[in-house]
């Protein structure tokens, strides 16, 4: 087979707008309707509504007569388009050339992918697994041209073949009004005796062009000659997804489930880019209050939705919600290449990965500024040299060489004034007096080690220039 031969696969999501609003359908759902913009007719409905006799295109009033309880939503083109992009993201792992055909279709050029997957059947198996996992209803079909694939999918003819003759054979019996022809009145064709695609295909093209315009000819040509449709899907440079909640969430628990939906999309996005992120920004929008912002960190990157969900859960636990949440926004940038984890010799233990996971968990639960690493800087002033930096930001390369100076292991965050009379002196003084360039106010201290008789502690005392004594550290 010619490896460069193109094969198109069209996927039509018949209830995309409905499912984008309510989430993928499941059997426990009550009847749900999506109304057209004017609210007069049913645009899409879920399985529960169909079972009770509602049909697409039915007037809203008739539908209400059939249903006892129902959830309704208005058609939202923006939401539908965003969801189509998300589905493209999921399929991006399987196919590099995806074209979006709004409002609810998507075209995949799979001819060039078949060699990679080892044949059409193997490819389709993967594709169906991904689509099934997404939970969205779909119809798909292949075609030797993009338009042929679209027609087959829209007419729900599930044909999967690379054979152009077979594809044409399936198209031939289609009635003219099912061909998406760019003419106002397909009945005009019927009146001319052209009722099926087979007849139309054989009719003289120039004559048809004369009667129905050049668009018609182009459409018919596109069914026979390769031509692409739609706009090619490219990965957005950042991950930025927003989700309107169906119900206000007053507790962190109620947020976790919707957030999971966003995280699954994030996982697909990261897989498509083969990158990972180490931090995630969440914005929780309220009705009146300014939004609550959360920053979730994973050390050295986490990729799966499950890992992120756990970390987000911990962060939400820590964050009291000031008001009910109406929408959630998840944003990620600063991607980095996805490095493999170093295991031990046998590949059974991953100490580095375990350590990273532990740090991520601690940071998520306790907060970024409560998990710190002691630094060992070169500054002569003790409090500056021995800062504690947040562990996720600490620049571990600046740890200077082991100090030869004899300093205690504990410092007091603020020096405390003490009376020298309580102490037995052990050693000192050690003078620390850096140059004026380091800080404007002169810093000159004499340090002593002294035993506090009553507390039975060994203290590190500083005598200031004005002869006052301060407790600065403890030799614990």
């Amino acid at each position: 087979m010619d490896s460069t031969r193109r094969l198109w696969l069209f996927i039509e999501f018949p209830a995309l707008a409905l499912e984008a609003w309510f989430g993928p359908d499941d059997p426990q759902r009550p009847p749900q309707l999506l109304l057209a913009g004017n609210g007069q007719s049913v645009l899409q409905c879920n399985a529960a509504a169909t079972a009770l006799g509602v049909r697409e295109g039915m007037s809203t009033n008739t539908a209400y007569c059939l249903l006892e309880s129902v959830e309704i939503a208005q058609y939202d083109a923006q939401l539908e388009r965003e969801q189509l992009g998300r589905l493209a993201l999921v399929l991006y792992r399987l196919c590099a050339d995806i074209r979006l055909c709004p409002p609810s279709g998507m075209l995949l050029e799979i001819g060039s992918m078949l060699r990679l997957f080892g044949g059409l059947d193997a490819f389709l198996e993967q594709l169906w697994a991904h689509l099934h996992r997404s939970g969205y209803r779909y119809h798909c079909a292949t075609g030797h041209t993009a338009l042929a694939a679209r027609l087959l999918a829209r007419n729900r003819i599930a044909l999967f073949s690379q054979d152009a003759v077979r594809i044409r054979a399936e198209l031939d019996p289609l009635p003219v009004d099912a061909l998406d022809l760019p003419i106002k009145d397909p009945a005009k064709l019927t009146r001319m005796g052209l009722t099926t695609y087979a007849q139309l295909r054989r009719a003289p093209r120039a004559e048809l062009g004369y009667r129905f315009g050049p668009e018609m000819v182009r459409h018919l040509n596109a069914l026979e000659q390769p031509d692409a449709l739609g706009q090619r899907f490219t990965l957005p440079p950042h991950f930025n997804e927003r989700l309107e909640l169906l119900h206000e969430a007053t507790q962190a628990d109620g947020l976790l489930f919707p957030v999971k939906r966003l995280l699954v999309t994030l996982e697909a996005y990261l897989q498509a880019r083969q990158q990972s992120i180490d931090s995630l920004h969440l914005k929780l929008e309220h009705r009146e209050q300014p939004p609550t912002r959360l920053h979730v960190q994973a050390v050295r990157g986490a990729k799966t939705a499950q890992e992120w969900q756990h970390l987000v859960g911990l962060a939400l636990e820590r964050q009291p919600l000031p008001a009910p949440v109406l929408a959630v926004l998840v944003r990620a940038h600063r991607f980095h290449a996805d490095a493999g984890q170093a295991g031990d010799l046998l590949g059974t233990a991953y100490p580095a990965a375990d350590a990273d996971r532990l740090l991520s968990l601690l940071v998520s639960r306790l907060g970024h500024d409560r998990v710190r690493t002691p630094m060992c800087g070169a500054d002569p002033r003790p409090l500056q040299a021995g800062r504690l930096d947040p562990a996720t930001e600490a620049d571990r390369s600046v740890q200077s060489a082991t100090f030869s100076r004899h300093h205690p292991v504990f410092l007091l965050p603020e020096p405390v004034a003490v009376r020298p009379g309580d102490y037995d002196w052990l050693s000192g003084p050690e003078r620390i007096a850096p140059g004026d360039w380091l800080q404007p106010a002169p810093f000159r201290r004499d340090y002593f080690r002294a035993w506090h008789r009553q507390h039975q502690q060994l203290h590190w005392l500083a005598r200031h220039d004005d002869r006052r004594w301060f407790l600065e550290g403890v030799f614990s």
């Binding site: 532990l358 601690l362 690493t373 002691p374 100076r405």
Partner: protein, 216 residues
């Protein structure tokens, strides 16, 4: 081999007169006089050790630091300190040979946070040793801690005020530390596996470690 043999060998059961023969994994404490009294010859790995002091800062770190710095240099995972009473001072710790880049110092907001964090340290396998300054401890959760430490084979050191001496504890090893002088310590073993309590172990407690280059 009988079951009893097996249990004795693993240090689960011991007899009064031959406890020194039981095997327990331990990290030498760096204090010779103490090591001879500790089962396994050092701080138990995979168990909770409780050290009681009258006032924080009475030498409990100098007691632990030789072992902690040894652990930190030989293991790439985290050494986690919870709620130290003062701010750990990097240059001072580095002087003991502690690998600072493997250290985490955590402040928790309450007992729940602390216990959760301790359990995570032990269960994820991401830590090499845990040191926590604690006060009140729920007995049931402390038992969970002990089991998690055993499973993860990670030493856990709990530093508590001496007023909890009479409170029941599931720690495998309990010590009381007093500091009679600047570079001296006196340790009472209140509870240990495979042995009776011991009083008044006198130890020299040097102010400074031998540093990273000293050994190991």
């Amino acid at each position: 081999m009988t079951l009893l043999h097996e249990l004795t060998r693993n240090g689960q059961v011991w007899t009064g007169h031959d406890w020194r023969r039981t095997r327990q994994q331990a990290q030498p404490s760096g204090h010779a006089a103490l090591d001879t009294e500790l089962p396994g010859g050092g701080w138990p790995l995979g168990a909770v050790t409780e050290i009681l002091v009258h006032r924080p800062g009475q030498g409990e770190l100098r007691l632990l630091l030789p072992a902690l710095s040894e652990l930190s240099r030989n293991d790439s995972r985290w050494q986690v300190w919870f709620n130290p009473p003062f701010q750990p001072y990097g240059p001072g710790l580095a002087q003991w040979g502690l690998a600072l880049d493997r250290m985490l110092v955590c402040q928790t907001r309450g007992a729940d946070d602390l216990l959760w964090s301790l359990e995570q340290c032990l269960n994820t396998g991401g830590s090499q040793a845990v040191v926590a300054w604690v006060e009140q401890l729920d007995k049931a959760r402390m038992r969970r801690l002990q089991l998690a430490a055993e499973k993860g084979r990670i030493p856990v050191f709990l530093l508590r005020p001496a007023r909890f001496e009479s409170a029941p504890s599931v720690a495998a090893l309990r010590l009381r530390l007093t500091s009679p002088g600047p570079e001296r310590a006196c340790v009472d073993i209140l509870k240990r596996r495979a042995g009776w309590p011991v009083q008044d172990i006198e130890l020299p407690l040097p102010l400074f470690g031998e540093g990273a280059g000293g050994h190991g």
